[in-house]
């Protein structure tokens, strides 16, 4: 049996492959965002910046990244 080396998460609604063991903080960095450049949610729940290192992503996790925009 081959070891699983990749997982697929949903990133902002799109499938996205990642190495096993990738944390949320790593994903933010891999995407080129500074840590304070986005807010994050995992499976619909807000993950504070300080907890991203502890959140190892799993198969089928849904990750949402939010950034600031103008608003009324």
């Amino acid at each position: 049996m081959r070891a699983v080396v990749e997982i697929t998460v949903t990133l902002d609604g799109q499938p996205h492959s990642l190495p096993v063991g990738t944390t949320l903080a790593c994903l933010v960095a891999l995407l080129g965002h500074p840590p304070a450049g986005v807010s994050t949610a995992l499976n619909g729940v807000f993950v504070p910046r300080g907890q991203r290192d502890d959140r190892v992503l799993a198969e089928s996790d849904a990750v949402l990244l939010f950034q600031p925009i103008v608003g009324g």
Binding site: D12, P48, P68, I69, V70, G71, G72
Partner: protein
């Protein structure tokens, strides 16, 4: 000192322990350029500017608008008011509020939970649930609500320090569609801070809100979509000041019949004078 001057002074209002002098809260969306937005904020002399959060793929960059908002707020000392626009449930709104607090570093949140896609009418049940949770979580909640008195009471009971009832549906520019309900809110909640949010299209609408006794107005489209947004921001500022001053000065009660203003004694001056 003239009595008139006393009306102009000492008219600050509070949100928690924050003192505000401007009664004009301005939205930052839909401006033709960051520079126009900056100039509109300055012309409005606002102390509160609303912003949002959006999923990264959908946002696709903001062309420098947020940077200019942060810059001008640094210069003026104005504050950010993030919103939860686009949320359809209490759960969504609570999560987005937490993200906004982290991102913008403020406990203030303009709580929007929409219950109808056509009118963008707030969902009172989800709104109250979200407000209750967010107050527990330490937020200062600015709930965007309808003019329903009982809902408003429940939101105050939940710990919201103020209410933001709509004047008309968001972006419609129709003005105060239900002055009776708004007047009732003011009369039944005399100690509550009330801000008209949404539906204001013209400076006269804003003046009317202040004349009715509302404490402030929040608007966006009416300025952003004007042919000259900066001039319109100034027009709103002047109208808001006029409405507030009129409220404090005491608007006369309407009368059902004509009441002569010139004390001529009830007789036409020249009657019977002709030979």
């Amino acid at each position: 000192m003239l009595r008139e001057s006393l009306i102009d002074l000492d008219d600050a209002w509070q949100v928690g322990d924050v003192t505000l002098n401007s009664r004009f809260l301005l939205g930052s969306a839909g401006y033709p350029s960051p520079q126009v937005l900056r100039d509109a904020i300055l012309a409005a002399q606002t102390q509160v500017v609303t912003v949002g959060l959006k999923r990264t793929l959908a946002a696709a960059g903001d062309n420098g608008f947020i940077a200019i908002v942060r810059q001008v707020l640094c210069e003026t000392g104005a504050r950010l008011l993030p919103n939860t626009a686009g949320c359809r449930s209490a759960r969504e709104a609570v999560q987005l509020a937490h993200m906004a607090r982290e991102f913008y570093d403020t406990p203030w949140i303009k709580l929007e939970v929409v219950g109808d896609e056509h009118t963008l009418q707030p969902d009172p049940f989800e709104l109250l649930g979200a407000a209750t949770q967010l107050v527990r979580d330490g937020f200062t909640v600015f709930p965007y609500c309808t003019d329903d008195l009982v809902t408003c009471r429940r939101l105050l009971d939940a710990g919201c320090p103020l209410l933001m009832p709509w004047g008309a549906p968001i972006g419609s520019g129709q003005g105060l569609l239900n002055p009776f309900a708004l007047r009732t809110l003011r009369e039944r909640l005399p100690d509550a801070t009330l801000i008209i949010d949404a539906g204001i299209g013209a400076p006269s609408h804003a003046a009317q809100a202040l004349e009715l006794g509302f404490d402030a107005v929040l608007l966006n489209s009416a300025v952003a979509q004007a042919r000259e947004p900066v001039a319109m921001a100034r027009a709103f500022r002047l109208a808001i000041d006029a409405g507030r001053t009129a409220r404090r000065a005491g608007v006369m009660a309407p009368q059902d019949f004509a009441v002569a203003s010139t004390p001529v004694g009830g007789e036409p001056l020249l009657l019977g004078a002709a030979p």
